[in-house]
Amino acid sequence: MTTASAPVPKFQKRPTPARKVNRAIDDRFGTQGAIRRNFNKVFPDHWSFLIGEIALYSFMILLLTGIYLTLFFDPSNVEIIYNGSYVPLKGVEMSRAYASTLDISFDTRAGLVFRQIHHWAALVFVASIIAHMMRVFFTGAFRKPREVNWLIGIVLLMLALVEGFAGYSLPDDLLSGTGLRIAASIAQSIPVIGTWTSFLVFNGEFPGENFIPRLYVVHILLVPGILLALIGAHLGILWHQKHTDFPGPGKTEHNVVGHRVFPVFAVKSGGFFMLTFAVLALLGGLAQINPIWTFGPYDPAKVSSASQPDWYIGFLDGSTRLMPPWEFRGLGHTIPAVLWPTAVLPGVLFTLAALYPFLEAKFTGDKASHNLLQRPREAPTRTAIGAMSLSFYLVLFISGGNDIIAHTFSISLNAMTWAGRIGLIVVPPIAYVVTKRLCISLNERDAEIAHHGIETGIIRQLANGEFVEDHRPKPPPVSDYPQVPTDRIPLPAGAADGAHGKGLAHRAGKAVGGFFTEETEKPAGDAPVGGGSKH
């Protein structure tokens, strides 16, 4: 036996292949640091910050389903005789674009469901963009330093409308053609350059020769490319500037409190993508959308009553329907009535929306940077302006479907038109005043609670005959993150909800309450533990 025994071999864990690859990449490109930094980013959690993600995911689903459709769609104006499996159109002359859309719907495996998911995703995409924009607006997230993201957002919204309209026009059915014809007459109504513009867009007199191939390039390459690039910029800026958050325990202008990107936020986002896909797939599988076969192929001699654009163009349709037929003549030009509601109005609306952050900064004199959001009631004037704009938009939007509403509810169409005209002038100011009052009184209630506590509903009569109501002091603060010192105070509704179940509805109610829960900020320096990320 030798005394010097060989050292016991130390057990060493073999690195997994993934780790090896990671190390190999890191050795060459030094990526590890960046990954670590980005995985450790913190994203605040409030339900309303997820609305932008709906837009993002529905855009991704649009890209995926759109790629499938491009495999079968034939963007061509060439006229052929249809001989597919949809009997009521057999033997009818139509463009190859229309025929191939019929083929996708009836003779391609999963073609119809892809078409339908694609279209539903487009409608939900724009809806979520507008909801997201409302969230950004009403919380003041657009304020310095985020004006650029607001501007990019406006461009994204406009491009989304263009993209949707181009898609709606591609199948060359009766609705598409009717929409394009209106677009052509809008282009022509522009003074001086109108005719030229229309010829340029349509490659000649409407319907133009070989217009569909052009539109196709716009729809599948040009606009999606710009959208993709701008979404990248939008999110890059967001990443760089970090997300805003509502004031709350441990939250300051200089920190972010929430979950790290990896793993919590990433898992939540992955799940959210799946759920978005699920909702759109359910719609696409269960609800019919754009049945082009009932509208028939486009023929300039035909038109269907109740021809509408997709909903996001509806407000322009509405403004056209409300516009009185005033034609302006002079200086050797005729300006048709259609110019004002369809070209001038959206121009003004989008310009005002784009300039809003700068206008607000100018009128309030607030030139400071803000990383903490405001609740809508804390900026009564802004909230009132938002409500006013929304009601203006809603009147236009409803008027866009006024014939169908009139028919469904047996109202005279003329009455609907006049109600729209008057409503457009009367409703927005009312919305402004009511919203502003509401915000101010909500603020007063908050102040009342902060100073006197919460009403208990117990009335006592004093010895001298006077009645007083008992007030209960504010309950102790609660925290989302127990590590974070907190002084958030639940409002009465929140305090009394022991009676409610702990179900989804309850949790949802609590989450919405986040917008409305009184929160006070502790002086800065209260460093958040756990999910804090210092700037």
Binding site: D45, W47, S48, L50, I51, I54, V87, P88, K90, V92, F106, L112, Q116, W120, L123, V124, A127, L174, L175, K268, F272, L275, T276, L280, L283, G285, L286, A287, Q288, I289, N290, P291, W293, T294, F295, G296, D299, A301, K302, V303, S304, S305, A306, Q308, D310, W311, G314, G400, A406, H407, S412, L413, N414, Y481, P482, L504, R507, A508, K510, A511
Partner: protein, 292 residues
């Protein structure tokens, strides 16, 4: 249909009258001229006789199908129809259907108009309004037939089409669809869902119209709807349109639930309320603050 069939039979018999002499003359071409002339005269008079006979036979065969004013049954129908008319319609249309300040003259509107108005429940008109609504018919089919017979006896007019399922199945759907989109969709909407016209008038939904009513509506043009006569849309095309309307009513929606048939407006509503609504619900769920 009787009027047109009767004239058809007259036409065919005159064609026969014109056609036979030609045959005869070819057969006798080599005979002497005078003989042939004599024969031709005789034969043409025989042909004329035959033709007249054929017309008579066809008339008696075809006539009972419709306006059989001659037969006792038909007379009975007219009498019953007149009685029904006097009870339910004369207050507005006048005792002899000559019209009054309350309603137009019905002389010459034909059985088609009566069948359309009564079988869709529009007549008898309940109360003056912007437009008569479709209602459950007040009269039985036999009663409607009787009033039809009465009105038809007054001044003719377009007849009841009486389409069968076989007629509709044989029709060319594609042609019907083209005609429908070209002539009807501008008021009734491409899927026949209906749409408003001005001042409370409207083109109704075609979801309940029977094939007969579709043809009758085209032939008689109720209220603000134009008349589509046989010159514009012939018999066969009219049946094709009726078949297409039936297709719009019955065909299952290949894409799932057919939400309202109007296209973009209900679709937008569903996208915003159900689609975005559900996803905002998901936001609330995922974004809910957990109490640890």
């Amino acid at each position: 249909m009787t009027t047109s069939k009767a004239s058809e039979s007259a036409a065919s018999s005159s064609a026969g009258a014109a056609g036979r002499p030609r045959l005869v003359s070819r057969r006798n071409a080599r005979r002497s001229r005078s003989a042939s002339v004599r024969r031709r005269r005789r034969s043409s008079s025989i042909v004329l006789l035959l033709g007249l006979l054929a017309t008579g036979v066809m008339w008696t065969v075809l006539a009972p199908g419709g306006n059989a004013t001659e037969t006792p049954d038909a007379n009975e129908a007219v009498r019953q129809g007149r009685a029904l008319f006097a009870q339910g319609c004369a207050t507005c249309h006048g005792l002899n259907a000559q019209g009054s300040s309350e309603g137009p003259s019905l002389i010459g509107v034909g059985a088609a108009a009566v069948d359309f108005q009564m079988s869709t429940g529009r007549m008898p008109l309940a109360a003056p309004a912007a437009q008569a609504d479709r209602k459950d018919p007040l009269y039985s089919e036999t009663q409607i037939d009787q009033v039809e017979a009465y009105i038809q006896s007054l001044g003719g007019g377009p007849e009841d089409p009486d389409l069968t399922d076989a007629d509709l199945n044989d029709a060319d759907l594609a042609e019907g669809g083209e005609l429908f989109l070209a002539n009807c969709a501008q008021c009734h909407q491409a899927a026949g869902a209906g749409a408003p016209l001005t001042y409370g008038k409207f083109a109704p939904s075609l979801s309940q119209a029977t094939a007969d009513q579709v043809v009758e509506a085209m032939r008689t043009g109720p209220e603000s709807m134009p008349v589509f006569g046989p010159g514009q849309i012939n018999e066969e095309e009219a049946v094709a349109v009726a078949a297409y309307v039936r297709h719009l009513q019955d065909a299952p929606a290949p894409g799932g639930a057919s939400i309202g048939k109007y296209g973009p407006v209900p679709e937008g509503l569903v996208a915003i309320v159900i689609g975005l609504g559900a996803l905002l619900g998901v936001c609330l769920w995922i974004g809910a603050r957990q109490k640890l």
